[in-house]
Amino acid sequence: MSQLDTPVLELRNVTKTYSVKQGLFGKPKPLTAVNDVSIKLARGEVLGLVGESGCGKSTLAKILLGLEAPSSGQVLVDGQALGGQDRLALARRIQPIFQDPYSSLNPRKNIYDIIALPLRVHSIGNEVSRQKSVREILDIVGLPARVMNSYPSQMSGGQRQRVAIARALIMKPEIVICDEPTSALDVSVQSQILNLLNELRQEFGLTYLFISHNLAVIEHLATRVAVMYLGRIVEEASVESLFDAARHPYSDALLKSVLTPEPGLGIPDTHLGMTYPNPIAPPDGCHFHPRCPSAMDLCKSQRPTPLFDAAGRIECHLFSP
């Protein structure tokens, strides 16, 4: 385990700011989608990233895929800064699986062309060897080779997501960014895809960044969890410690609002105020204080500093160093 000290993927103080124009003649205002985020992914681990819509999860995924450049901070792959690597080299190491298999496959291309696109772009092999690779990867994701000539519209949601996984894996990447890979699928298909992702990870030693709002899925698959709120990681811990004893009040509220299929328990009260704050005008102090059931005066004025300890990382005045 020589790579233990070099994380396969690392974000160092990554910030992404957009300027948003409000109204026709409004002055552009900065929107900080990702705010000073630092995370490390060790080889073979699954980092679950959770948070409500608008918290910056998807922006973070785009930065990791090189689709967006961070406004400041660094992304390192195997200890090497992302800016120093060319786009093709990066694409070989990090691949995405998107949420909606109805939108992630080009409807005008057949399955073979879709899966072989990475090989063509990277000029890997010739048409014969590509055919062979596509056959192999189809077998790995559990699709018969005869789907090669079909089109996405002829397939079910689960099959399409398998195609998307095949496309992501055909170049044998090390890191896969899974952005809500099962939330558009039916329940009976979700579990197949989750099982497949889990199998593939073990077989190919993949590292996942798994973005989801489904905490049951995160709990099942992830080894570590990062909780994001308004662009910041407010808590990061191993999946056991987070799900057994979440420390940040926001993580706690998120966990409480999960509806497990246990009849008779009723619907939980999260004690969260309902409105997610406007990211253009985030609250002062701790961003979470207007919705926090245990907010103190300090929280309104001062931003908590992160605490790093054995359990992970937490950013809350209740756990100030």
Partner: protein, 303 residues
């Protein structure tokens, strides 16, 4: 598992690839659409006639016979020698109509091709790159929309003189606005799809993404606009020729024929009615085809 597969080996419910390919579906919808079929047949017939004009036309369209001027068409008491009669110079009207189809279709097609290339390039660039590019293109579209097409065309033709090439060039350079608007909107829509993000994440180059991810998915809209702009160009050519600023005589052009017939309109109305009707039918056919193509290629947009 084993039980299920063995029990259902020939079960009609069991299937994993659903339905026909997009191509098969398109074909089925294409041939099932009445308006589209009518429009396409009329246009196809006309195209064949135009291409085979030297074979099909009964007479030389330029051959004058001053002894046989303004012979009425056969249904108004004329002879089968000149089925649609002759014009004021004694030229066979049917032959002139047939050769006129060549001019009209040529102008419609080439003008739509030129403006389509310009408009698509601008629209796709604006939609895909956004930002400054989009601002510039939007500005150009607005400038173009502020210019009255007929007046500008008249002015240009008046300066350069009317000829087939000039008319095609002027129309081609003026009719790109709808292409740009439609292509920009379609590109914006497609750009947001995840397969474009997936191609970017694969490392595909921008030209590759534009050509193989974006273009195939906006092609249907492009084809619809091409047909509509063809009709537009054909009408404009007729207008210009009617005003004497389009194709120059003695070239047979439908607009010119209407123009030449208008002096006699009160005495021999068929001189205007025949080319007018043909023009009407062609434009109607193209529009039917355009509407049909829109229905067929985007069934989800049908009301």
């Amino acid at each position: 598992m084993t039980l299920a597969t063995s029990a259902n080996s020939v079960d009609p419910l069991l299937q994993d690839i659903i339905g026909p390919t997009p191509g098969q579906q398109l074909r089925r919808r294409f041939f099932g659409h009445r308006g589209l079929m009518i429009g396409a047949s009329v246009l196809g017939l006309l195209l064949v006639i135009a291409v085979l004009a030297p074979v099909v036309a009964p007479h030389d369209p330029y051959a004058q016979d001053l002894m046989a001027r303004m012979k009425p068409p056969v249904f108004l008491g004329g002879t089968w020698e000149n089925i649609l009669g002759t014009d004021h110079l004694g030229r066979d009207y049917l032959s002139r109509l047939i050769y006129g189809a060549r001019v009209s279709l040529l102008i419609g097609f080439v003008a739509a091709l030129i403006s389509g290339t310009i408009g698509t390039a601008m629209g796709v660039a604006a939609g895909y790159f956004g930002g400054r590019v989009d601002m510039v293109v939007t500005f150009l579209i607005n400038v173009r929309l502020a210019m009255p097409v007929v007046l500008v065309a008249l002015a240009v033709v008046a300066i350069l003189g009317g000829s087939l090439q000039v008319v095609i060039g002027v129309l081609g350079l003026l009719l790109w606005d709808r292409f740009a608007v439609v292509m920009r909107a379609s590109t914006l829509q497609v750009r947001g799809r995840e397969y474009v993000a997936a191609a970017q994440a694969i490392g595909a180059s921008t030209p590759r993404i534009l050509l193989s991810e974006i273009m195939p998915n906006i092609m249907n809209n492009l084809i619809v606009v091409i047909t509509l702009e063809m009709a537009h160009a054909i009408l404009l050519e007729a207008t210009l020729s009617f005003l004497g600023l389009g194709v120059q005589p003695p070239t047979p052009s439908w607009g010119l024929m209407v123009s030449e017939g208008k002096n006699m309109m009160l005495f021999e109305p068929w001189l205007v009615l025949i080319p007018g009707t043909v023009l009407f039918v062609v434009v109607l056919a193209i529009n039917l085809m355009g509407d049909g193509l829109r229905d067929v290629t985007a069934p989800e947009n049908r009301s």
